[in-house]
């Protein structure tokens, strides 16, 4: 966490929908290589914050810098090309393509093939190897030729993460990666996230406190569109402000190992 330029630098970020202000002035620096979790009660604006960072929504005011470079006002694909990739809370995959084709599509731009119609996919060894590598990482090598739309829910969530990391982005945003999973599936997902985000900057929104306290280096607590605290898991757990606003008065139980 001593890197000079933060991976992500958000300052004065605001977003209104009509008269209601959802994001009300957020300042947040996330260091290179950090694993950062954003928590907060429902409706706090966590997903909206992700949409702003990834340019799915345009901010009303404020700036975002990615690795020191301002990215405010860019399109999603432009930000993606600069090395930021995200997953979605609701599974967002290419449902009629096979698992392998999903992943191969996700690596094509970063390997420089762009809109090429003069390369044959079957001879692009680098794309094939990288897609297969990611496929093994997410444990779907046995589902290689299965259409993504008929995978099980947990498999689709894994593919969702696979598509996110396949392009080799070094800033990864995961929006509730373990939402709707069983305990054992969650444990596998955490191990997977840990594995595939090694040496990368990770920002995630998560409701499962076990996942948050197990994975994050630092935690930001978002309440009503504002960050009320950013600190290490221990400090967040002890923070009376957080306990009052978000966790109630009960301290977090011991499932955070």
């Amino acid at each position: 966490m001593t890197a000079s330029v933060p991976a992500l630098c958000i300052s004065g970020l605001r977003k209104s929908f009509g008269a209601s202000e959802i994001i009300r002035g957020i300042d947040l620096d996330i260091a290179k290589g950090e694993r950062h979790a954003i928590i907060g009660p429902n409706g706090a604006g966590k997903s909206t914050l992700f949409h702003l960072i990834s340019a799915r929504l345009a901010a009303t005011s404020g700036t975002i810098a990615l690795k020191g470079e301002p990215v405010t006002g860019l399109k999603p694909f432009e930000i993606n090309r600069k090395g930021l990739s995200r997953s979605f809370q609701i599974t967002n995959i290419f449902h009629s393509l096979s698992v392998f084709e999903n992943l191969r599509s996700a690596v094509l731009w970063s390997l420089g093939y762009k809109y090429s119609f003069w390369h044959r996919l079957s001879v692009l060894r680098d794309a094939k190897e990288r897609a297969e590598h990611v496929m093994c990482d997410i444990g779907l090598q046995n589902r290689r030729d299965t259409a993504a739309g008929i995978l099980s829910y947990a498999e689709q969530r894994a593919l969702e993460i696979g598509i996110t990391i396949a392009g080799g982005a070094d800033v990864i945003l995961l929006d509730e990666p373990t939402a709707g999973m069983s305990h054992s599936e969650t444990d596998e997902a955490v191990a997977l996230i840990r594995r595939v985000t090694e040496n990368k900057t990770l920002v995630m929104v998560e409701h499962d406190m076990g996942v948050v306290f197990g994975l994050a280096d630092r935690i930001s607590v978002l309440v009503y569109g504002q960050v009320i605290a950013t600190d290490t898991p221990q400090a967040i757990r002890a923070n009376p402000l957080v306990q009052e606003a978000y966790l109630g008065t009960t301290p977090v139980s011991g499932n955070a190992s």
């Binding site: 694909f77 995959i93 393509l97 970063s110 996919l121």
Partner: protein, 418 residues
């Protein structure tokens, strides 16, 4: 939209189409059949180019005839411009000029149409096509007014490999050559990064933006390339008929390529070829028999949409999978059982439609199998209606068992796979 079929199967289909296309004209030696085959090959290229948008990129266009028509006009103008210097070799290359016109039209019009997908694209494509068609009378030197333009593909002297493009069979070989070149290139495109990412944009445009792709640029490039092949098809049509009229770029033409592609099957590469063949045959064969052919065609389309939304190609591939798995034997009796009432129902419906058409045309009698039927009596109507109702009742009776057997076979097929 199923997973792409294995390579050997693709090779087999290509080879089968090639053999059929080469053998058919020499089997029948009929000028009419050869001209129907030429028309099928032209429409196949047109429909394949349309499926680059609909099936591969998820773009529903109501104005694809613009590229086809402009390709045809470019070709006929090139042919007439060459005049006596149009040697057979140059004539053979003219469809490329049509392709270039389609490409340029795509470069210009695509800027406007591909900004958005979905309904916006459909409406803008329709608007631009109507606009183009409405402006054609303003430029009679380009579009030739109502009469269009005629040309002569034999204006030049000499021959090329012994071919002069005079006989219909020779123009058929030329059409077939360009059809295979075009289809081959369009198939190759599906195996490239652009082709695959077009599928991704079709499935989920939002996510495509988050893997680095500007979806508008993907749509634009697919549309331009599609325009190129539609233009080639138009050029082939110009050489085949030696006449080009503004009808080629109107909404009717845009509609029929949509119907061909859809009934053939947008989820399979060869689906549009099947649709082009089927509908061209209906047009020429059924169209020659009855004035009601458009009605039959409409009923056929409704039937396809309701019962086989994947098109004929998906029906065939489903059946061939069942045959391969040996499950067809359980289904065959059911098919046979259903065939008789289905035929009865069709017969009754055809009878009613034909009598109604004859009556509306002012006839008092219609001939059926050599006997004359008086249309102002009740008996033939009752007869046809009862045949129709009987057929439908029979179908209802057997359909339950067939659908049970069908679902059982299907679940066995899927369960059999690891």
């Amino acid at each position: 939209m199923t997973a792409p079929s294995s390579l050997p199967r693709q090779v087999l289909i290509w080879a089968a189409i090639f053999v059929i296309a080469c053998v058919l004209p020499s089997l029948f030696r009929s000028g009419f059949l050869v001209s129907v085959l030429s028309q099928i090959a032209i429409m196949a290229v047109f429909a394949l180019s349309y499926n680059m948008l609909l099936g591969q990129t998820g773009l529903l266009s109501f104005g694809h005839a613009v590229y086809y028509g402009l390709g045809a006009f470019a070709t006929i103008h090139l042919l007439n411009g060459l005049g006596k210097s149009a040697t057979p070799l140059l004539v053979a290359l003219l469809p490329l000029g049509g392709g270039a016109a389609g490409l340029v039209a795509g470069l210009i019009l695509g800027r406007m149409t591909t900004k958005k997908a979905g309904t916006t694209f459909a409406m803008i494509s329709l608007g631009i096509a109507e606009l183009m068609f409405a402006t054609t009378p303003i430029f009679p030197s380009v579009f030739g007014g109502d009469g269009g333009f005629a040309g002569n593909r034999m204006a030049g002297k000499g021959s090329f490999l012994g071919l002069t493009w005079g006989p219909q069979i020779e123009i058929y070989w030329l059409v077939l050559f360009w059809a295979f070149v075009s289809a081959g290139l369009m198939f190759a495109l599906t195996q490239t990064p652009l082709g695959r990412v077009a599928n991704a944009v079709r499935d989920n445009p939002e996510r495509a933006e988050f893997i680095g792709y500007d979806t508008r640029q993907v749509r634009y490039r697919m549309l331009v390339l599609s325009g190129l092949f539609a233009g080639i098809a138009g050029g082939l049509s110009a050489l085949n008929y030696e006449i080009v009229t503004v009808d080629m770029l109107n909404a009717h033409t845009s509609g029929s390529v949509l119907l061909m592609t859809y009934t053939g099957g947008i989820g399979h590469f060869f689906g549009p070829v099947l649709g082009a063949a089927m509908i061209t045959l209906m047009q020429t064969l059924v169209g020659g028999l009855t004035h009601a052919w458009l009605l039959y065609f409409g009923l056929f389309f409704l039937f396809m949409v309701a019962f086989a939304p994947g098109g004929m190609a998906s029906v065939l591939s489903r059946q061939s999978a069942l045959v391969k798995a040996g499950l067809w034997r359980c289904l065959l009796p059911h098919y046979a059982l259903a065939a008789a009432p289905a035929a009865l129902a069709c017969l009754g419906a055809v009878g009613l439609i034909e009598m109604a058409y004859a009556l509306l045309a002012g006839h008092d009698a219609a001939s059926f199998m050599g006997t004359s039927i008086r249309l102002h009596t009740l008996l033939p109507w009752l007869g046809a209606a009862s045949v129709l109702i009987g057929g439908i009742a029979g179908l209802k009776w057997v359909i339950g068992g067939m659908s049970d057997a069908w679902h059982q076979a299907l679940s066995q097929l899927q369960g059999g796979k690891p």
